[in-house]
Symmetry: C2
Subunit: 438 residues, 2 copies
């Protein structure tokens, strides 16, 4: 709902949600359909959906607002609308958290941040008719705003669905930080017994080239039919609409701003190739299998963890900033095999790593190279970091080490135990030591 | 040279550089050849080269030191030793700055951080006999310790060589931050008229699989024979020893910790494929050609620039840290198309971007996706960043935007002019606007 002030103004002008309007704001003139307020949008903005399919927020203060001819019905479905189940069909739960994929429903309802319901979904993707779909609305958020608190809510919601008779759970999510969320849920859902499949889209369904429908279709198929009881991230596997990859949730990263196949498995093979006709080809034979295990929820996270990327000329006092703010853990995304500025005393991070370690704060090392693994012994400078107390995180992604450290520190206050846990594989995030140089 | 204290102790024990020694330091016992002090190494460490080829620094304080049987002659060549030029052969200048590639010479002289001379080089790579080589020693540094001051020294040294009759200049460099250095020199050498080719190696020549020799050979060939008057970065193009790629210095990044083909061109084609037999196949037709232009040196850099990587849960006060320290420019490595935390007021970077912009501090946006381009208009949240004053840096790499902002701010104190310069292509770092979604 818009603020009282905006509502009053709209009433005064006789404008309703769904009306075609012209808005003059800060020198710009826009025409489009007046949309409902965005879930977490600027309270002073009104949202207008342009003819090119984009919805934009326009500052309401001092804006000129005019009603035009035309009205479009904006549908709102109840978040938990339950489609009638058909006996014999497998059930898949879908939890919606927002992002571009949620604007898929834009196509049918006109609402960019609206929840989409099971009936919308089945309507848009007729192939989903072979499943019973339980659709839950959790958030209508863009993923750049997600934080630990949202991962906890997601983990709870997924956990709840895992307890039903659903074959698996699909989570729709903005793509920007989806790989952080899959890592978080990988650590939070212990003894996972069914597939949990995150998916999203790079282009909303307003565009002919949208990847939403195929990703959704492949995700539901993978959740229902595969025996991979892990948190995975499923997106296009190529820039064509031919197949998707399911990546392990702790071994994947967004590596392109806009391509449909933006996500790549890092230091691991994708789990499987999934075709829009529902066919699944396993690629990675090393995965946790579907079972009758009892899944448990472990959603504790220590939020005072920092991720620092090193670069030539970086100010080493950034370390003091975090220590001063009583951060409990630090991940350093170093260069190459895990290097940090070392030899020039004034700029060296070595004394800072020592200081943090002495204070019981684990300092974990990853590489900004993304691919490959860090190693503490190849060069003398790496050995110095190690001797200062740094934990070299093998082939773990920086993003995953960051999330894992939040998880680990919520479970252990002891430095040595925390260090040990960081180097123990929990959810496929750490491959066994392989030679640094293949 | 070691410190006076260490020198005295060595003298007392009758130990000379090159002697085989046993060192007991902090519970560890090492045997190997005593090496000369590392250029920028810990002043309290002695350097011992182990039988596996690695040289390690061992703390001298309280160390037990013992002379063993055996001595190996450690050669030191003068840094500017000039090989006699042979008339008719093309000349290539080589400037050594350190890194793993410098340990190539290890093989002949035993010194890990020693300079290598032209004669060493020609001895190790007989195919280089077709060139006159001028070899200069600049630094013996690992690249994780390089900073703006080193880029300036490098630019000066290269500029000097460009003024000679050399066909081109090769710079050998540690790989970790080589792409920062190539970006820096791309901006600092104006109207470049000859090839400037950076190369390094991922494995020292102690290893059978070393890439040093082939990279060096291809780099000298490319510097001499190609007509690409740009700063390029040349490394293995595949994990076999079949060819190298020369990448544009502003469009390349290290993307693997240890593979020989760790560097990849990003958002651009490699410039050329270079074979060890000297053959060059151009790939990219869009490059600056060799000419009779007068090159000039423009080595001013504003060092108070920060690079901030965003992540879910980041502390937005990191911005205040840099503003408080009077930083002059900030690059934000955002998510996806350039997103930063936006919607939740408490964590939003939007007010910080506004504040910095008001204070005349440019805030530049890149993407941690690495591949692709940022864009200010696709989503409402991006538009908010743009309206707050952020400069969206198109398809520029974060590392390059960081170096470019240092360059730009040294030339313009005016915010609008600096913003404009950031969005003007100077050295191939910014491709013209292409559609965000191909």
């Amino acid at each position: 709902m818009y603020s009282k002030k905006i509502q009053e103004k709209l009433k005064e002008l006789g404008i309703e949600i769904g009306d075609r309007v012209r808005v003059k704001s800060r020198g710009e003139v826009c025409e489009g359909i007046l949309m409902p307020k965005q879930e977490l949008g600027d309270p002073n903005a009104i949202v207008v959906k342009l003819s090119n399919g984009y919805a934009i927020g326009l500052n309401f203060e001092g804006a000129g607002l005019e009603k035009l001819e035309g009205h479009r019905k904006i549908g709102f479905k109840s978040s938990d609308e339950k489609l009638k189940h058909v006996a014999g069909k497998p059930t898949v739960s879908i939890i919606s958290t927002g992002g571009t994929v949620a604007s898929r429903v834009d196509y049918t309802t006109g609402g960019v941040n609206a929840s989409y319901s099971a009936s919308d979904l089945v309507k848009a993707v007729p192939e989903l008719g072979e499943f019973n779909i339980d659709s839950k609305f959790l958030f209508g958020m863009m993923s750049e705003d997600m934080r630990a608190e949202h991962w906890k809510e997601m983990a709870k919601a997924v956990f709840k669905e895992l307890k039903t008779d659903a074959r698996g759970v699909v989570v729709t999510h903005g793509t920007d930080t989806m790989h952080f969320s899959t890592a978080a849920l990988s650590f939070m859902l212990k003894d996972l017994n069914k597939p949990v499949v995150f998916t999203g889209s790079q282009r909303s369904s307003d565009r002919g080239s949208s990847d939403s429908f195929m990703n959704m279709l492949c995700a539901v198929n993978f959740a229902s039919k595969s025996d991979v009881a892990e948190v995975s991230l499923l997106m296009h596997g190529s820039s064509s609409d031919d197949f998707c990859y399911a990546h392990r949730g702790t071994k994947v990263r967004k590596l392109h701003t806009s391509k449909r196949d933006a996500f790549k498995s890092v230091n691991d093979e994708p789990l499987a190739k999934i075709f829009p006709n529902g066919k699944i080809e396993m690629i990675n034979s090393n995965y946790r299998k579907r079972s009758e295990r009892e899944v448990s929820l472990d959603d504790k996270l220590e939020e005072k963890v920092a991720l620092i990327k090193t670069y030539p000329g970086m100010d080493p006092e950034i370390f003091d900033f975090y220590l001063g703010k009583k951060f409990k853990g630090i991940v350093i995304e170093g260069t190459g095999l895990g290097h940090v500025p070392t030899a020039i005393e004034k700029y060296s991070l070595i004394p800072r790593i020592k200081e943090a370690t002495k204070a019981g704060i684990p300092v974990c090392i990853t590489s900004q190279c993304i691919f490959g693994r860090v190693h503490e012994f190849v060069y003398a400078n790496l050995r110095k970091e190690y001797e200062a107390g740094a934990v070299f995180c093998g082939d773990m992604l920086s993003e995953v080490a960051y999330v894992k450290l939040m998880h680990v520190l919520a479970h252990s206050k002891d430095l040595e135990e925390a260090k040990k846990l960081m180097l123990t594989n929990i959810a496929g995030e750490l491959n066994e030591r392989t030679p640094v140089f293949e």
